[in-house]
Symmetry: C5
Subunit: 300 residues, 5 copies
Amino acid sequence: MSEFYMPPRLADLDIPVGKRIRLHRLLYEHGPGNGRLLILPIDQGLEHGPLNFFPNPDSKHPIYQYELAKRGGYSAIALHYGLAAHYLKDYAGDIPMILKINGKTNIPSDDDPLSPLTASVEDAVRLGADAVGYTLYVGSPRQDEDIMQLAEVRSECDYYGMPLIVWSYPRGSAIAQKGGRDSFYAVDYAARIAHEMGADIVKVNFPKLNPEKDKAAPAPYDSLQVDEVEAFRQVVQSAGRTFVLVSGGSKISDEDLLDKVRMSFQAGATGLIFGRNMWQRPMDQALALTEKVKSIIESV
Amino acid sequence: MSEFYMPPRLADLDIPVGKRIRLHRLLYEHGPGNGRLLILPIDQGLEHGPLNFFPNPDSKHPIYQYELAKRGGYSAIALHYGLAAHYLKDYAGDIPMILKINGKTNIPSDDDPLSPLTASVEDAVRLGADAVGYTLYVGSPRQDEDIMQLAEVRSECDYYGMPLIVWSYPRGSAIAQKGGRDSFYAVDYAARIAHEMGADIVKVNFPKLNPEKDKAAPAPYDSLQVDEVEAFRQVVQSAGRTFVLVSGGSKISDEDLLDKVRMSFQAGATGLIFGRNMWQRPMDQALALTEKVKSIIESV
Amino acid sequence: MSEFYMPPRLADLDIPVGKRIRLHRLLYEHGPGNGRLLILPIDQGLEHGPLNFFPNPDSKHPIYQYELAKRGGYSAIALHYGLAAHYLKDYAGDIPMILKINGKTNIPSDDDPLSPLTASVEDAVRLGADAVGYTLYVGSPRQDEDIMQLAEVRSECDYYGMPLIVWSYPRGSAIAQKGGRDSFYAVDYAARIAHEMGADIVKVNFPKLNPEKDKAAPAPYDSLQVDEVEAFRQVVQSAGRTFVLVSGGSKISDEDLLDKVRMSFQAGATGLIFGRNMWQRPMDQALALTEKVKSIIESV
Amino acid sequence: MSEFYMPPRLADLDIPVGKRIRLHRLLYEHGPGNGRLLILPIDQGLEHGPLNFFPNPDSKHPIYQYELAKRGGYSAIALHYGLAAHYLKDYAGDIPMILKINGKTNIPSDDDPLSPLTASVEDAVRLGADAVGYTLYVGSPRQDEDIMQLAEVRSECDYYGMPLIVWSYPRGSAIAQKGGRDSFYAVDYAARIAHEMGADIVKVNFPKLNPEKDKAAPAPYDSLQVDEVEAFRQVVQSAGRTFVLVSGGSKISDEDLLDKVRMSFQAGATGLIFGRNMWQRPMDQALALTEKVKSIIESV
Amino acid sequence: MSEFYMPPRLADLDIPVGKRIRLHRLLYEHGPGNGRLLILPIDQGLEHGPLNFFPNPDSKHPIYQYELAKRGGYSAIALHYGLAAHYLKDYAGDIPMILKINGKTNIPSDDDPLSPLTASVEDAVRLGADAVGYTLYVGSPRQDEDIMQLAEVRSECDYYGMPLIVWSYPRGSAIAQKGGRDSFYAVDYAARIAHEMGADIVKVNFPKLNPEKDKAAPAPYDSLQVDEVEAFRQVVQSAGRTFVLVSGGSKISDEDLLDKVRMSFQAGATGLIFGRNMWQRPMDQALALTEKVKSIIESV
């Protein structure tokens, strides 16, 4: 490892004290509590519609996720304004809240996506959130609007001492032509831009290597010979002093999920953000799986 | 029913006190008065032009609807700024007013609709409104502008304690390609996004099942085997702690309308918003039909 | 006539006192003085260029119109900022001024028109105007921008007690496909939207019936059997408590103009806004024609 | 000449006192000093790039134009922010400065031009300017943005008492189809819109008559039988109480230039704005030509 | 050399005192210290993604560049907000920082580029920066947005006394059709517009002469007979009193780089901004090359 790289540690970061307190709550006072993160998101109802709730009808009711987050001991729950404002009261203090402040439906074409603000950093402050979440569509033809919107959010986060988590997603017609949104090239870029934009935490997908599709990526990504853990390790390092969260994505088997957990921490991730993989399961199974994930987290 | 779901009740909601007072007025002090809503809208002159008034020429004059709302004992009348400012004085106190704060003509193409603001939340406060109405075109290619505009309206509503009613309408070329605007998929999504955006009340159309067209919807909506009441029950639950209003749409027969009323409440709706179905009838018929509707409401 | 309709009378209107004073000046202290309006507009230099001045070269000089308005005893002169600021001083108090606050050239295509602000309501206040004029392009594909701009102007008018006159013009490619801009359908819609947007006065063109073209309009306009006076009467009623001004349009014969005047008041209009039909005539002829028009006005 | 027209005189104008003082400085204290203007512009480096400086390499250095303006006794120098801020100090008080506050390169297509702000009216105030210059692209498909931008500039000019000079240039694909940008129709419209928008001074090109191309202009411009001096006289009158400056355009011979000067004043212009025709000549020739121009000015 | 030209010297410039202090720090207190600049940029991670770091994996970690800048004695390091906020603390005082305040990915098409703001001038003030960097895409079809954005940044820089460095890059489909982005025409224009917009320092590429491609440029650039040093000398003079920085571009050989350094200063440049050419080398080689560059700088 380079002598110029050190994985980020909260104590070493030069950040406003408000961010320090809130991140401390997420990293050390809730969830695994050992500086790792396990976050439960429930923004799919807005991003995909209620269709994600059909595999487990209870999951349509936010109380289900709040209960899962509380009983499972998650670091935080992440959701949009309506689900925070209408349900948080009964869990105040029990479970930290991350306010997702932009979002959109997936009904229209995703060729040039932009995720509009659904709430503000001030809303997050008012609701007692411990971080805000912002989706950046890396490489979208509308990146100019996206980057400026993010820069304003970042500026308000600095002002209020509110940690900023960037959902850094390569998307749109242009990235599709350069190897696709889950390529090492795309994910590596996504991690880096979030870091350079000033994110405290970046959420990325685990890169997928596909030698055929990767030929469309710029050099040297078009001909690299690395495995996925190594690729992800490099992604984590591209994020520098920004903590890295691994996205769960759509539901996979228990085994595959636990493998992903192990690989993520091997590669240097700070945490996990698993939604459908948890709450599409019945409560008892979701809690059992949560326990397994937390065991791995505690052992790394 | 899921142990995680409870239909919304005003007393249980965690909302600003200004919203609580105004919603109390709508739910318990006017109209049916039993926590149900019966609202009379008259925004069609702006949305469709005066053509909707021809079946009952008296209906062109807003006094007609004000009188109908007053004599029929509606929960509120819903209209645009000009119709509020010019006519409300004579009905002040008699009939609560919902200020519709965005709208557009239906003259140009509806492929990528956006409903511009015709008034502000502050206008609603000034005019003594008890709620504002906002039309969200769910899935429009211009959803980014729409969502941000709604987020700002929602923020002002929270500030002023003004209840927010979202007219949540799937519209535009994209939803047309996924089964159409009245499909279970579309209406279910519309209910959910309004809830996640922080609406207090959402107005939706009753979903229409059409196995042929529904094949174009995403799974599992492309192959569900449910009847319309069950579909709507699920829509109501997707709206969570947001009250649901059923839209009347264009004029139908008395029998069909009363059926719709019964099914709506069976499925868990909180209220009805019936315009043309009421005021396209002569006053005596409209009042008689209103009575029948209210009888059903009182019996549920 | 419907029991629910009463033509608007200033004394009955529920408007801010500033509007009441300024409208009183227009309706009762200048011009015909009997609650009717006769307005002289000179915004054509901006809308069409100087070409409208060639039939009467004197008319290129705004002093000509100011003199005509003063000697002819008009209710007001309507013009853009430059013509107000540069010439008003010598006529201050003699002739009320309506500041037209948006406008554009007719050089580019009119497929999706939008009339940008050329001045503000505050400018109108500063210059001592008694009303502002705003052009709304009803049904333009850019209606969303137009409606929001108008809503802001309306809000400022309410704040400053400044009467708002909407030049309500159906325009653009969409209305052209539904029967054209002067159809009963189009003009009726234009009158109504101005009323619902909160205009105090609406300027419309006299509708033209054309059974062939009207087939493209939505029902019931595609098959109505009414004469032009009846059509316009219905337009006036669509405008509700908003006063209606009839536009003169391009120059026509004395006889035709006087017929138009008679029909306008028969149908319930409150006033006339005649520009080219007056100032494209030499001063003596223009004054003579003005007298004839005023005689009719006084007799209705 | 019409009894309704008087050429504008500063003493007669109804303008804010700040404008009066600054215009007095330009019209009577510098340059010809007899109420006429001779302005030296140097905004071509931004509008065209340095290519205009090659005929006279000294002209690339703004000191050259400052010296020419000072030694030649010009009414003012007109330039962008960078050339004002970096060089003005050494000429403070010697030569009035007109801050050009919008501009663009000519690299992309000119089909739908818009000239963005490069500075503000407040910058002009800070730098001690005696006027601001604004380029309006008359008839551009983006005229709505242009007109609103100009209206805001005009409003600030009124507030600060800063004279407003509009570079009124017909441009874009639409005017090209109606006879071109230098036609009588186009220039006449340009003069008028600047006047109606509230300009204190308008800069136009001398119209060029071209019977063949003019057929594409609207009536009566498509068939007028006037010479260029008469055409320009009418342009000047279309500008009403707005002073008219004649643009020099690209370099022409001494004789042609002096002819243009004579014709301009015959037609009623108030001044000249000559850039390349002056500073593309060596200093001695430029000064000599300046003297000849000023002789004509003093004799009219 | 023209009697009207003097290369810019800090002591002679008429600039706000805040700019003077900060520029003095860059020109005389750090780096070569003789009024010349040697700047190390690290904004490529955002502009190109992490791919530029592969030739020297250490370079992915910003500490590497900070160390290089410190040990090599650079005038400043230039980077985006995230890399400033997260790493600057340990180098505070040692190495001046230039905050790059706009940027974008190179994933979508570059036909009509616009670089959105990633931070603000106020951010730069808060972080103790000694200048801000802004990328202007000269000749982009979106130049209107770019120029206005730059004008606002320039205005804030003047207010805060923050030096403004313009990365002046010809880009987009239009310049491609006129000889390309590195032509003398393009670079000369880029230098000039930065000067006219009020930049304190402009970063340009060294022009490349290509007689074949240059034929597409406007006269006289289409047929000039100059060598590259002479071309660049003219570029420097087009920048007037704005200091000129030469961009390093992608990595070239030591010899070529040192040649470029010599030619740059021969032509009148004030400094160099070399990124990949330095940090894509291992530390010892980068430091050795830095020494060679500085030797040349000290000898000019």
